[in-house]
Symmetry: C2
Amino acid sequence: MERELLLLGLLRRHSMHGYQLHEVIQRSLASCADLKKPTAYALLERMAQRGWLTAHEEPAPERGRPPRTRYTLTPDGEAAYHRLLRENLATYQPTTFPGETGLAFLDTLPPAEARALLQDRRALLADALAAASAAPPHEGALQIVVDHQRHHLRSELAWLDSLLARLPAQGDITS
Amino acid sequence: MERELLLLGLLRRHSMHGYQLHEVIQRSLASCADLKKPTAYALLERMAQRGWLTAHEEPAPERGRPPRTRYTLTPDGEAAYHRLLRENLATYQPTTFPGETGLAFLDTLPPAEARALLQDRRALLADALAAASAAPPHEGALQIVVDHQRHHLRSELAWLDSLLARLPAQGDITS
DNA sequence: TTTTCCATGTAACTCGTTACATGATTTC
DNA sequence: GAAATCATGTAACGAGTTACATGGAAAA
């Protein structure tokens, strides 16, 4: 659902063709959403069939370039956008972290090795945080999203550090 | 991959049959992993074919009950477990939050409505935190996982509160 | 009498990804 | 001459879920 919301939200600002949409998402939303090209095209087609979008075949902008299909939001699409947006905002989907599975079995490893592996994870986390912090300010509410990303990464880093700090206490992890 | 790691880690403690595994996961790991029954059975079968597990057909424990298949870790399974565990611990997979999509378009809603919707989200988040905090202590490294859950939920709640606090400043969200 | 529990699955489906095809045009 | 850019797709695949089937026994 949230991929449809994303496309609708972008098309609401101004109509675009699929390639453009994919570019915008890759370029300025890569941290919070990734939408592959075939997925984007398929979703656009499906939403057009539902009547949420109209598809306009446009001739090539420059010669030698393929023609493009411009998608525009319909009133039904606008209604769907608001419905999806309200549902998304009012809902909380509990997140399940793939990294937690390993943590559940941390006590099956010698503490020294556990420590070393988690140090690797810490380095990757720190990189991600640095990348997120270096991002230029975004327009409008997009800034809220990158702000949330940063907050989450900082929180994860702090927690991992606290885990590392209490880790190697003579082999007893839970003490 | 992390579902396989989960099953291997549980089977490493003691051999079990599929139904039992699913019960354990639902009961004491529901917060950090959910694994449906058909998925569990399919994974067990696949790992048995790979030689990571051996499958023992056991007669019914009580009469009238169906027979069960007990899965036991092989040395290959033990090796796979350690490989998957090391990879999981040393890696960080950036999380993408479904709830962020809506936030990216928060400025398309009247601030009062945005506020009301996010209050709903806040209530769900608070519920989740209460549930996680009420959970009894878990054995061994499982406690680390619920600890991480709690930390994350607290962090999310704090961030959402900070967002709500700076939200309705005369309609300009980014100020 | 209907429902629930045990224990195992199968079949169909959704969702999304990867890899590839097309075809002209510009860049290395 | 090879590779990248634009713009659209198709085909195959993978992972996971939902809904259902089975069949006897115990509980509501």
